[in-house]
């Protein structure tokens, strides 16, 4: 009986999870391996003698060097970082106040406002970039980092607002009432009690917002023209695919270096991030 159960656990639990992990991690592995393989291996056919299609026999840094020396990758990385951080901060601040207001304050039209904010999040960027391009041109922000710092919040604020609204709702309102009796104003109670308690939620909203702006493609493609203003996702694709030639090694090196900062950010806050998404607050 016990043996049968063990057998079942393997089939129903370990095997599917192993397949799932393999499936999820394989692209990352492929990216890393490709970044460190010499061109001779990359473009060799699998049938060639001594072929090692799934790993490399002669690891090399030539693609990383090439990427850093022949393209403006460090500038793209810096641009992406700056734009992601600034737009995340703007969106978090707006999202915290808006989320709090929608979760706690009862005012006329609050429900409508909540829904309206959500709907703006649902409008696809592929449509929204057309009117936004017009606005950016009128404001003469095209080809400057501000074009992205100010347009990313258009989808980040609704996202942060909704995530934080949900989190604020899990915080017992008595905490805030108690603070108000203790001598805090509503604003004071929000800043001194609710925000510190909501740190896991705020962090996970921040991480999500950071990742979304880090990965954003279409606005960056449309609003940024010159090579030194590009972000990593756009820069890598537009500079390393020339015509029908794909510089696979450098492309993958760019992808690898581009995903490292995000992975680092995640790993620092992973605990907060999990409680932010799943946990609630107990008083």
């Amino acid at each position: 009986m016990l043996i049968e159960r063990k057998w079942k656990k393997w089939v129903y639990f370990y095997l599917p999870i192993a397949v799932f992990i393999l499936f999820t991690l394989f692209p990352f592995y492929w990216m890393a391996v490709t970044a460190f393989r010499p061109d001779s291996e990359l473009y060799a056919t699998w049938r060639q003698p001594n072929a090692a299609p799934l790993w490399t026999l002669h690891p090399t840094l030539e693609h990383v060097k090439g990427l850093l020396q022949t393209t403006a990758f460090p500038t793209w990385l810096w641009n992406t970082m700056l734009i992601a951080i600034v737009s995340t901060i703007i969106s978090l601040i707006c999202g915290m106040f808006a989320g709090y207001a929608l979760a706690r304050l009862r005012f006329r039209g609050s429900e409508f406002l909540g829904t309206a904010i959500f709907i703006t999040y649902l409008v696809p960027q592929t449509l929204l970039f057309i009117p936004l391009a017009d606005i950016i041109r009128d404001m003469q922000l095209g080809n400057t980092p501000w074009a992205l710092m100010l347009t990313y919040p258009t989808f980040l604020i609704p996202f942060c607002t909704w995530l934080l609204m949900g989190y604020f709702k899990t915080i017992p309102k008595e905490l805030e009432e108690c603070a108000r009796i203790d001598g805090a104003t509503r604003f004071g109670a929000m800043v001194r009690i609710i925000f510190p308690v909501a740190v896991p939620g705020i962090l996970s909203a921040g991480i999500f917002a950071f990742t979304l702006s880090w990965n954003e493609f279409i606005y960056a493609l449309v609003f940024m023209a010159s090579a030194d203003q590009k972000t990593v996702p756009v820069g890598v694709v537009s500079e390393l695919i020339r015509g029908d030639i794909f510089f696979w090694g450098q492309l993958m090196a760019g992808a690898l270096l581009g995903s490292v900062p995000v992975a680092l950010v995640y790993s620092f806050f992973v605990e907060y991030y999990v409680t932010g998404l799943t946990g609630s607050v107990k008083g």
Partner: protein, 360 residues
């Protein structure tokens, strides 16, 4: 120290729900007043309006000499203990208790002194550096009380503070709260749905139902002379037995009758009760006992369930078609389904108008 006066207080929500209707209460200085009633009776809403957490639709609330209708909670000099304790989870016990004082700009030494003092009173000194999540339910409760007493407020407000504790701890904390109130001599308003808590803690008890005050009085007054059928049924456990009766007879010899039950109306009610009236007869379980030959107000019935509780025995039976309970001496030996004769104590009968439910 202050008295609290509530006049013609009303609360109507935007959705039209009238939660509190014309409540008038005078709470004396140093008094422990308990608001009790079933859920949705408006007791918590009333308390929250005193705290300033809920807007007043109409009426007036005074704390001391001052009308506080439009004052924010922080300016009312009150402290409140919440049902879920509402401890700040990111602050230590010390900081939880000190927060109110810090917000009011007390110097550091004074804050420390007061927190120490309160912690001593409540026996939570060893916990001052802990976070709320490291405390047991009872300890959290004490911290919540401590946070209220450090400020030396004029009025304490308690919103069902014991209902999250287990039964044994609840009894213990109840006594501690009573002791604390005697020591601090501060006016307190306490909300609960538990009538035992209300009776044991309150100097006076306010029974509420559907947003209205049903009766205000000292615990024994509510028990002995309930103003209406609701109060009679709410206060006391097991609850008072009610049976619909019709009055017959004439002059001094009036009888309250229903199927299987016929008792003589005690002298005290003559003049208030007339023949032909339909009334509700109320009998407390302890006003019933096994009859001996000499009793006048007796009736026969069959016991269906016997509940031996040790210090008393509860006999469940039916009379006049309704289930009733008698509380009898633990020495009594009665078996289920046995036929018995029960006697009513004529001094402890209650009659209520069948329509208005007011006591007669």
């Amino acid at each position: 120290m202050a008295d609290v006066s509530i006049r013609a207080l009303n609360k109507k929500y935007d959705n039209g729900f009238h939660a509190v209707k014309d409540v008038n209460l005078e709470i004396r200085d140093k008094e422990f007043l308990v608001l009790v009633g079933p859920s949705g009776c408006g007791k918590t809403t009333t308390l929250r309006m005193v705290a300033g957490l809920e807007e007043i639709t109409s009426g007036e609330i005074r704390i001391g000499e001052e009308v506080v209708n439009d004052l924010p909670p922080m300016d009312r000099n009150i402290a409140m203990v919440f049902q879920n304790y509402a401890l700040y989870p990111h602050k230590t016990v010390f900081d939880n208790m000190a927060f109110g004082l810090q917000m009011r700009g007390y110097p550091k030494d004074e804050v420390k002194k007061r927190v120490q003092e309160a912690a001593e009173i409540l026996g939570i000194e060893p916990l001052l550096e802990r976070k709320p999540r490291q405390l047991s339910g009872g300890q959290r409760q004490r911290v919540a009380v401590g946070r209220a007493i450090v400020r030396h407020p004029e009025v304490f407000l308690f919103d069902e503070p014991l209902s999250n504790l287990d039964a044994k701890l609840r009894v213990q904390m109840r006594v501690e709260l009573k002791r604390l109130h005697e020591r601090l001599e501060t006016t307190a308003i306490y909300v609960t749905h538990d009538q035992v808590e209300a009776m044991t803690l309150g100097d006076r008890v306010v029974v509420m139902k559907d947003g209205r005050v049903q009766q205000v009085g000292e615990p024994l007054e509510l028990y002995g002379r309930p103003a209406n059928r609701f109060v009679a049924g709410f206060i006391g456990s097991p609850a008072m037995n009610f049976v619909e009766v019709s009055i017959s007879g004439s002059g001094d010899a009036l009888w309250a009758e229903t199927q299987g039950l016929r008792v003589r109306v005690p002298q005290g009610f003559s003049g208030k009760v007339q023949s032909g009236q339909r009334l509700t007869l109320g009998v407390r379980p302890e006003a019933l006992r096994l009859a001996n030959g000499a009793d006048e107000h007796t009736f026969a019935t069959a016991v269906d369930v016997v509940e031996p509780l040790g210090n008393e025995i509860l006999l469940n039976f039916r009379a006049g078609g309704v289930p009733m309970v008698a509380r009898v001496d633990p020495g009594v030996r009665v078996k289920p389904h046995e036929n018995i004769h029960l006697a009513l104590d004529p001094q402890r009968l209650h009659f209520f108008d069948a329509k208005t439910e007011a006591a007669i």
